[in-house]
Amino acid sequence: MPVIEVEALTRRYTTRTGFRRRTRKDVEAVRGISFEVGRGELFGLLGPNGAGKTTTIKMLITLLLPTSGSARVLGHDVVAEPREVRRRIGYVFGGDKGLYERLSGLDNLRYFAELYGVPAREQGPRIGELLELVGLTGRERERVEGYSRGMRQRLHIARGLLHRPDVLFLDEPSIGIDPVGARELRQTVASLTSQGTTVLLTTHYMFEADELCDRIAVIAGGLIVAEGTPAELKSRVADGHVVEIEVFDGVGDRLDAVRAIPGVTSVGVEDGGHSQLLVVRTDAAATVTPAVLGRLDGLALGRVATREPTLEDAYVELVRQA
Amino acid sequence: MRTSLRIFFLGGLTSYRALFHWLTPWILIPTFVVGPIFQLLFFAYVGRAAGVGDDTFYLIGNAVELASIPCLFAMGNTIGNERYTQTLGLLLASPARRLPLFLGRALPVVVNGFAVSFLVLVLGALVLHVSIPVAAWAPLVAVLAVCAFSCTGLGLASAALALRVRETAVLSNIIMGVLIVFCGVNVAVSALPAWMQSVAQVLPLTHGIEAARELVAGASWAAVMPLVRDEALIGVVYGAIGMAMLFFFERESRRHATLELA
């Protein structure tokens, strides 16, 4: 039985603005998504801001009711049996909120241990174990207001794990932490799944999803636009190559010409300050590269390189198509 | 001069609206109407229960004192919030002339304080059936305005101090408590111990409340004039102290880059 089953889930927000003349505005944040996550799997929801990732998670952790469709976590319906679901899941979100600043890290954990009904006898050892896991041992008696972002994030993770949840929901956990902290976080998450915890992770960091996830669903505009292992997704959109050319002059008026070259699947431009990077995706790099250079004749060019597509290329492609 | 005036009026009003959102009935009514009226009723009834003073005594004392809610809190928050939203640094560093700038912040506060006092006086007189001689109203209104002014002077000083102590609201609350105890609001100054009477002489409101009570008792404007003058003078002194502190902090912050703006 899958641990998470989502079927045709939708969520519409109605916002009312204005005081005297109230106007209703409906926003469809999630527009009918379906997926399943198996036990012990690390499943990633990848998408740009506003794609519907957080809305999806909030429906799964019972904080939001779906407008239509259904979702079950560990066999319990998120609408009908919220308490059963809540007992068995953990929820961690990114950013430095969600903690009691004036309390110590230890007190924060104690409080949530009570809220999650961790038996009194088990609390001490469990908290000690988690502090060890997230590397906060020795700092637990300090007030959270003095913690760094990375420490807060790790405390969050410990909080989410207090009651040994079967499923852990991580909503953009590495937002705003430094690269070292983010790497430690990824190691912690990876070690969880090795112990059998199912993890649903949302992120917009490609490398994070690539490194961690067993399976990824790319979500854009409230719809799942692709689903598969990182390798599958990479091969799906670009089983060719990526040609990158550094251009020092304006390249805008040549783009259509480059696109017209046979074998070119897509063309993008990334602004790099004093230069621009022309990113050409193709399935035949050997023949396409000279043709592209031909179309750019007369422009000051810098580095020219050909590389394998990354998950980011796949992602950009998918989101662009959506 | 023209620019100074513009900074005075527009700058003051804009900051008041932007930083406060006072101007919604959801805040105005509880804070400036219901709360104050019940403070008056509370003390008037405690007075009845204790068999001390009469309703007129409490009406005048509390009406004048209640100006301090906007005068202290609004003033403290105006300056405090600008630090919070980190606009104080911009303000202090702006080339605009600072005197009209800060006094401009103060003007809407004075008007607000006066309005609260006046409202409490009118509503309170109706509810408690206190009759105030018709001839006393005009000078009374003037006294209320002077008290709102002097209390705002104190508010400016406390706002400046708040830059250092951080807890603006705590400071404002404590100062308000001091005013209630010392200034003859519910207890005649003459009934206080001698040292408290001396303190009362250098606080705003004391002279104004005394003047207002004398007016209601039938005194002429000329008779209360010295009290009103002292009241205004005290306001000027506190305002000057507040301004001096703000200038001092500004200079210090530029020299050491230490004014904790965040």
């Binding site: 109605t14 309390l103 409080y111 009904g117 | 509880p30 009834y45 229960a49 001390v52």
Partner: protein, 256 residues
């Protein structure tokens, strides 16, 4: 058993947090003492010692209500602002069991003010209070605080949608001081006010504390204080449930 533990731990940690804030902690002890001081002066002028003693007991209870009324309205918004509201709602514990300890902890802070005011009256104004039944006095004070915490719970859950909730503190503070017999005997208030006073737990709590301090049978008042407090809690629980349900429909838990 585990529910009791949950409430106790919640109460203790909330108390810890509040004691660390000069606004909640220091101010709620000091501020009511300004009013008490004024009141002591008023009664001293009158010269009736028995009245002064009774006023001292009433004034000491004022701080318990201030501590609750001025902070309860903003509790949930505070939790929302620090991002903990969603975590509390998302836990398997009933939301009411999370909020009641918080509001009771506010009232507990108010007990410090009760003690401080009595000491202030004793030391500075020389007001002699005999404390005929010290143990009953302690029970009455604890019941007063607990019951007012329950009123605060109702206030907290009913004002969460009110964006300027902080302004509500000043709305509730004085009226309750006025009509619940803290200092003003109910008999001198207009007749129509009395039934309202009877419905408010502070009326019975203050009467109980006064009886216990000055020699009287406090137990009926203690019982009524608990009973009325419990009634407020029941309304609060219903409202809290509706609040959480509507938040799940309307997405109003997060700050956005």
């Amino acid at each position: 058993m585990s529910t009791l533990r949950l409430v106790a731990v919640g109460w203790w940690l909330q108390l810890k947090m509040r004691s660390r804030s000069s606004f909640d902690g220091l101010l709620s002890i000091v501020y009511p003492m300004f009013f008490a001081t004024t009141i002591f002066f008023m009664y001293r002028e009158n010269g009736d010692e028995a009245a002064l003693v009774s006023a001292a007991v009433g004034a000491s209870c004022m701080g318990v209500w201030s501590a609750v009324s001025t902070t309860a309205s903003t509790t949930l918004q505070g939790e929302r602002r620090q991002g903990t509201l969603e975590l509390l709602v998302g836990s398997p514990t009933s939301f009411s069991l999370v909020i009641v300890p918080a509001t009771v902890s506010m009232a507990t802070i108010g007990l410090w003010s009760l003690v401080a005011t009595l000491l202030w009256g004793r030391v500075v104004f020389g007001i002699p209070i005999s404390f005929d039944q010290p143990l009953v006095f302690v029970v009455a004070a604890l019941v007063l605080a607990f019951s007012l915490g329950l009123v605060g719970f109702l206030q907290a859950v009913s004002s969460v949608r009110y964006r300027s909730a902080w302004a509500l503190g000043s709305l509730f503070e004085f009226p309750v001081w006025l009509i619940c017999g803290f200092l003003v005997p109910l008999s001198i208030l207009p007749d129509w006010v009395r039934p309202i006073s009877w419905l408010l737990p502070p009326t019975w709590g203050v009467a109980a504390v006064r009886d216990a301090a000055l020699g009287g049978n406090a137990w009926p008042d203690i019982a009524l204080c608990l009973l009325t407090g419990a009634a407020y809690a029941v309304i609060g629980v219903v409202l809290a449930r509706r609040l959480v349900d509507s938040a799940r429909v309307n997405a109003t838990l997060a700050l956005t």
